[in-house]
Amino acid sequence: MTNLAPPRAGRDPVKVAARSAHARGRFRSRDYVGLLYAAPTAVIVGVLFIAPLALIGWMSLNKWPLLGPAHLNAPDNYVKIADDPLFVDSVLFTLKYTVIITVLLSAVALGLALLVQNRRPGIAFFRTAFFLPGAVGFAAAALLFYGMLNPEFGPLGFMDVKWIGTPNMALFSTIALVLWRFAGFNMLILLTGLQAIPVEVYEAARSDGANRWQIFTRITLPLLRPTIALMLILSVTGSLLAFDQFFIFTNGGPDNSTVSMVMVIYRNAFFRFDLGGAAALSVVLLVALVALNALQLRVLRGGNK
């Protein structure tokens, strides 16, 4: 398959470059042509992904101020993580937020998906309506809610509620914001799974006399398992990395009650000018999330078979 094109000397710089390498290796010239096409990818991945990944490990072992020279101080950055009460609190808060959001978001998304799964007149409008908030950027959505839930400016002023004034209300309002922004997105994920279930399966169940509830619990849910698992992975990782909603919408308040883990990383780096400390926190978060991702992927793959 690879020997169809007779190289024309001087016409293809790619091939000319490759030919000099030809004599050396076990790869033929065409293989080096492939390498040239893949080179931009390799450069981007190498410089902007692999290098920072190595750098973050190195930074976490150094006292690394925002300005000025760095010097080795391992393992101080890791040791002091446990002494940072704001970080410890942020871990607990982020975990709590993740559990609440994942449960609510899944339930709402599943409800919406079941509501719009069948083709019928006007259904495209409803699907689009539920998804449309997902087309708006998350930062824009957070700013929208910031204005909308302002007691003086927003339309809910008559309710006399301080939407972000107390820790519980701030969390509640953030959950409303995230549900609004992401329910349709998750609905779309579930819809792709629902539509992959063959109609024959439903027909067979119905002819066997199964009622709606039995069809839902015995057929829809089990067959939807891989899709639900994917949705859960996205929701859990997304929530553990929460930043915009708390930084923009509640600004961590009131009284630091809504400070997420990524916000602490940001604060250490750019308010305390301690990049080394921020890097150590990042490494901890990174290792935890990669482990969690690997675990969830295994579960997901198990569900596929």
Partner: protein, 268 residues
Amino acid sequence: MRRTASYSGMSALAVLFLFPLVWSGWSSLKGQAGSGQATGFGFGNYTRMAGFGEGLATYLTNSLLVSVMTVTGTLVVSALGGYAFARFSFPGKNLLFLATLAILMVPYATILIPLYVLLAQIGLQNSLVGLSLVFIMFQLPFALYMMRNSFEAVPRELDESAMVDGCNTFRAFISILLPAVRPGLVTVGLFAFLASWNDFLAPLILLNDGASFPLPVAVWSMTQRTFGAIDYGMLEAGVMVMAIPCLLLFTVLQRYYVRGFMSGALRG
């Protein structure tokens, strides 16, 4: 009966989901004492926003520049890379593919700190080019995967017969293959645009000068006034300027969006 119930349920939900968008648009135009639009309805908030901070024109230009560079860069890199992965074998092929997909495994927020240091070292501190390069990197797993699959779906006979006719691999790529994978390119471009236009954390960390802020950070800074009241009318006008291009693009290109969804665009 059941049908009526479900339609009224869906309509109520649709109102709930659309209300904030409609309210935001309405309140950006509505008059409010002390805002750019004192009474009645009009574009007063928008004209006032034009003079906010470094000026709307600056922020809009920054956002457009970043989006254009990100979309172009992502398309070029992922099209070339997708071609390489679909049609060639080369040393390190599997390793590079795995390394690219590994970007999905690593939480985005955690590598922005080293990227901040690294970009400064290569002279791209506070640079829109640097920011765009970072966005391209974050888009690459999805984009490369999408483009590889798109190229693989094109029958090999098509480009091979062109090469028999004397085209080199690059000519075959440009004139035969690229037109064949256009839907894939549109999907990749759409996701790259939405990500780069809307992202908040990366510009917040990587840019440190108000004159280089894109819209999300600039509009956020309206809420960060140390004295004086926040101008909420102008804030919602800012939200609209950010949201409207996305809503329009999404409505027009919905098909491509859903297509990206089906093929694993899920990690944005």
